[in-house]
């Protein structure tokens, strides 16, 4: 038994060590990233843990309990969302790769738990939990029962993460199911976004901010988070400070019960994985019928204007890739976040046209950041095949730009509807919808260029540029972030200043902004079309090298 576990630990050590190693490919960016993370994150977490510990010493039992509930819930969230976000420093220790080797099932289960219990996430969790104990205890004897509760909580987060890992691996064979599970497992991020916006709206807009102690009581996090294991641990701590032993025992037993149930579930899921019983959704497939219909329309259009038929098929292909891309699923929370921001904006004492303009700018920013890695088309993986076909290159760019524009218009509409809940203002609606078109047009032009000049392969499943693509991905993101404010500033100025300086002439300024958007897009589009033949080889090479 010890031999297998020692070997798994050895494997984990090698993967960690090799994450600092450059392959023959130039993955310097990755190595630098890992080093920076190690050098900044760990001391950073240590500092935050110390601040929390000091804060706990200064608060009373219940006030401290609120802080603990928040901190423990944050830890729980990090552990639960890590597997689906793929934000891991080392190559994940995917134990399914060992299934064909002679490793006993029980060792794989133990290994999965042991290896999750060590590493950066475990280390930072350890800092926080230690700081929580040292900061919150008031007598030495409280340390022992607090440690018991903390160890159980640590076991719970490790087991829950293992369960999320199992579920993702079991769903790996079914694209729809996998996307669904990624969406569900990332959903807690929404809780944070919603929670902090609710917090801001509730406490800072509706009056002067209260004192921190009063604020904690008013929010009553301890009560709100009592449905989570993190809340139970905080409740156990509070009970100890109040000498309520029965309550402590109750909350601690609840943690133990979740741990035991979670362990049972993990073993059950891992057994399914071990014997290849992967999950699949039974879905009726209708895409083929739809494709035939659209193919018919494209042929009909193509008889009159061949390029229109081609464009329709490209658009359909881009749309399918957009809705099926794991990247879209991973970014599902962007529209929700945008709507929440819109609602928040709607409550601000700002003019409606300003809010509309701001929402349009934010939407264009989101869409462009989301699209910057799509290699001039939403069909990221199929670009090589597309470039080996005689399809007119300008149409590839045009289809991509049109879809981007459509996505931006739909997003801004959703945002405006959310803002409408806070403020019934037609000006807001008009401005948001008018501004999004020129803003997204110039951003599309920019994306065409960055995609062609710094093309790179994006692992859509993980949402990362793997290994040797880090430099190109940095330049693409950097040029998109730098270029966006420069190119969109005239639109914002024309529409914003126009409204301020000559309110009666706002439609003229809107028209001017639209003309600017079309002109800039036309210019950048022309440059991209001119550049395309010279970059084709690089695009094909990048995609083929990674497949």
């Amino acid at each position: 038994m010890g031999h297998e576990l020692r070997t798994l630990l050895w494997l984990q050590g090698r993967l960690l060590r090799n994450s600092l190693r450059r392959g023959t490919a130039q993955d310097t960016g990755r190595v630098v990233g890992v080093l920076l993370l190690g050098l900044l994150l760990v001391p950073g977490l240590l500092v935050i843990a110390v601040i929390m510990g000091v804060g706990l010493r200064l608060t009373d039992a219940v006030g401290g309990g609120h802080i603990l509930a928040l901190a423990f819930s944050f830890l729980l969230l990090i552990w639960l969302t890590t597997p689906a976000s793929h934000q891991q420093i080392t190559e994940p220790l995917d134990l399914t790769r060992l299934f064909h080797l002679p490793v006993a099932f029980r060792h794989l289960v133990l290994g999965s738990l042991l290896l999750n219990s060590i590493g950066l996430a475990a280390l930072s969790t350890g800092f926080f939990l230690l700081a929580a104990i040292l900061g919150y205890m008031r007598t030495a004897w409280q340390m022992v029962p607090m440690t018991v509760s903390v160890l159980l909580f640590f076991g719970v987060v490790v087991v829950l993460k293992a369960i999320v890992d199992d579920v993702l691996a079991l769903a790996a064979a079914d694209r729809r199911l996998r996307l669904l599970i990624v969406v569900i497992s990332l959903a807690p991020v929404l809780l944070i976004i919603y929670g902090q916006l609710w917090f801001q709206v509730g406490f800072f807009l509706d009056g002067p901010p209260p004192e921190p102690q009063a604020l904690l009581r008013q929010v009553d996090l301890l009560r709100w988070l009592s449905w989570l294991p993190s809340g139970w641990l905080a409740q156990a701590f509070v009970a100890l400070r109040q000498n309520a032993w029965e309550a402590w025992l109750g909350w601690t037993m609840a943690l133990a019960a979740v741990l035991v149930t979670g362990l049972g579930l993990h073993v059950r899921l891992m057994r399914q994985l071990f014997f290849g019983d992967l999950w699949r959704l039974a879905v009726r497939r209708r895409a083929a019928v739809r494709q035939t219909r659209i193919g018919g329309w494209a042929s009909a259009l193509g008889r009159r204007r061949p390029w229109l038929g081609d464009l329709l098929m490209l658009l359909y292909k881009d749309w399918l890739n957009f809705v099926r891309s794991p990247m879209t699923a991973r970014l599902f929370f962007l529209p929700v976040m945008l709507c929440l921001v819109a609602y928040f904006f709607g409550r601000l004492p700002l003019p409606g046209w300003g809010i509309g303009l701001g929402l349009a700018g934010l939407t264009a920013f989101f869409v462009t950041l989301m699209a910057h890695n799509q290699l001039c088309t939403y069909d990221h993986i199929g670009i090589a095949a597309l470039l080996l076909s005689p399809v007119p290159r300008p149409l590839i760019l045009l289809s991509y730009g049109l879809l981007n524009l459509a996505v931006a218009v739909v997003l801004v509409l959703a945002a405006v509807l959310a803002a409408w809940l806070a403020r019934r203002d037609a000006v807001l609606l008009g401005y948001a919808l008018s501004a999004i078109v020129p803003l997204q047009l110039v951003c599309n032009g920019l994306t065409h260029l960055t995609g062609l000049i710094f093309p790179y392969y994006m692992d859509l499943e993980r949402g990362q540029a793997p290994l040797n693509e880090a430099k190109a991905s940095f330049f693409t993101v950097f040029s998109a972030i730098l270029g966006m404010p420069l190119l969109t500033a005239p639109v914002m100025l024309l529409m914003g200043l126009g409204r301020l300086l000559a309110p009666g002439w706002w439609s003229v300024f809107l028209l001017l902004a639209l003309v600017y958007g079309v002109a800039v897009y036309g210019l950048l589009f022309k440059v991209a079309v001119w550049l395309f033949p010279a970059r084709e080889e690089s695009l094909v090479e990048i995609m083929l090298a990674r497949r």
Binding site: T7, N18, E91, F99, H100, P102, F275
Partner: protein
Amino acid sequence: MRPGTSACPTMTPIIQTYGLVKTFGTLVAVDHLDLAVSAGVMFGFLGPNGAGKTTTLKMLTGLMRPTAGTALVAGYDVVRKPLEVKRRIGVVPENLGLYERLTADEYLELVGRLHRLDEATIARRRDRLLERLDLADRRHDLAVDYSAGMKKKLVLAAALLPNPPVLFLDEPFEGVDAISARAIKDLLLSLVRQQKTTVFFSTHIMELVEKLCDEVAIIDHGRLIAQGNLEALRHQAAIHGQASLEEVFLRLVRAEVNQGDHLDWL
């Protein structure tokens, strides 16, 4: 004597299945498969795409639980004694399952450790395998920088490291260049002839099977439709004379090969 063989309760046949079934919902991937493979043969497992080859291989290597039926490898039930089976087999799986941020040296060390080989044995066998499979020059490079063919050779080296009595290879020649393919063929043949290793492999390359294999099984729609040497297959397909394996295969799976007359634009 290679490790583990003395513990085998039976030696021939070394792979046996009885009424093996695997279903995915309403789809029957493997349908009552009865297979017997003698020890020390090169066994080719053929079938059209989606015939159930990979599913069968997964069940035989303990990577998938059969819906019904029994499979024995080296005398052990793959469901009841998966660990005993895995100690006696080497596998080149469909998706190679490499840790890409390990070097070839490290990956082979991992496999050797999990097979409980001592360090000296791991080092000796690793050096010879890497030399033989032409990976010695790149042994310290991370696997992520290897070509597809090199990765396949590395996984093959890992399968051979513990010197198992049975090798399961899923498309072992896919993506491998001609020189390496020759090296792999020679290596596998020497294993079968000299060490009496059983090599069970699936492939689509008929010429290779015809040249290498002592025995062949053909499955279609999850069902075994023929098994034996080429002569026996010709007999089962009711073909007389010197028909090639490809012709026999096409006859047995009743494949209708379109002659291209419908592709009027070509």
